[in-house]
């Protein structure tokens, strides 16, 4: 499993990578996961629904992450905004 984070000016970076079946690596993944959530990030797991439809699932704890998930993507939490006029 890889924990990725979107970064301005960079694209995604790998925060942690490991096998959830290996306790030590799972602990590192959990710590990295908590750090990002504590920093106010949202976490999403890209999934593929039956029929091939791509979706995503927002997760609030590491326990919510499917054990077979390949990636968890962190991104800054949504904020209502009115960006500069783009018309």
């Amino acid at each position: 499993m890889k924990l990725l984070r979107m970064k301005p000016g960079h694209g995604e970076i790998v925060l942690a990578e490991g096998d959830v079946a290996v306790p030590e690596q799972e602990r590192e993944l959990i710590e990295a996961f908590r750090r990002e959530l504590d920093a106010g990030m949202w976490a999403a797991v890209p999934t593929e629904a039956p029929g091939g439809r791509r979706e995503a699932e927002l997760v609030k704890s590491f326990d919510d992450v499917p054990r077979d998930a390949e990636r968890v993507i962190f991104f800054p939490r949504a904020a209502g905004g009115a960006p500069a006029a783009t018309r």
């Binding site: 091939g52 791509r54 991104f75």
Partner: protein, 214 residues
């Protein structure tokens, strides 16, 4: 007499030089500092003009790996994503009562697919306040992916976080109508020739992640 005058002149020049030297040296030093600052201003130390482009390439690859092949082709060809609304009675999918258009760094626009009527704009951003590279703005395709993930995972939550406005507040309604028409034509073409999905990638013989959205 002449010798005395010459000597006095030389002494005077030396005295004037000694008096003026500190001022001249300060002026020279100041001039050098100004020139160095000017050069730094033109090309800041560590500035990498290709960074944003590489960031966008990475973001496009990540987006492509998350959405369906059809959605990726839509974004690649049209520059936006359409996501079906899931809160109505008709459920998510092509029969949905409404849909969203996701543009990079612009509000999400809700509309009625059957009529093309524009419903609302949802102004939402994903600012990274840690500003790791001096900006809080995600690359374009990361912004689209963040909106897509949040909408497909928890539409109600994202809509709740956004500032809702009537159409036309930020995005030109005529442009949105044109985009809806472009999307309709694109989908008709796709139905006629499904191979269209990956055609441009192959035709241009380059990595699709490097192709800019229209």
């Amino acid at each position: 007499m002449g010798l005395a005058l010459d000597t006095a002149a030389v002494v005077l020049v030396v005295l004037l030089w000694e008096l003026a030297r500190p001022t001249l040296e300060r002026a020279l030093r100041h001039g050098r500092e100004l020139w160095a600052a000017h050069r730094r201003g033109r090309a800041p130390e560590g500035y990498d003009p290709g960074r944003e482009r590489r960031a966008e390439q990475r973001a496009r690859a990540l987006l492509r790996s998350c959405v369906s092949e059809r959605d990726w082709a839509m974004y690649r060809d049209l520059g936006f994503l359409r996501v079906w609304g899931g809160l109505g009675d008709h459920g998510r999918g092509s029969g949905a009562a409404y849909a969203y258009l996701i543009y990079p760094h612009k509000p999400i626009v809700a509309y009625v697919p059957q009529t093309g009527e524009l419903l609302n704009e949802y102004c939402v951003a994903f600012p990274d306040h840690s500003k790791p590279y001096g900006s809080s703005r995600l690359p374009d395709s990361d912004d689209v992916l963040a909106k897509w993930m949040a909408l497909s995972a928890d539409e109600r939550r994202l809509v709740g976080e956004a500032n809702m406005h009537l159409p036309g507040r930020q995005v030109d309604p005529d442009r949105v109508r044109r985009d809806i028409a472009r999307l309709r034509r694109w989908e008709q073409q796709l139905e006629r020739e499904p191979i269209h999905l990956g055609r441009r990638d192959r035709a241009q013989g380059q990595d699709p992640d490097n192709i800019r959205a229209a």
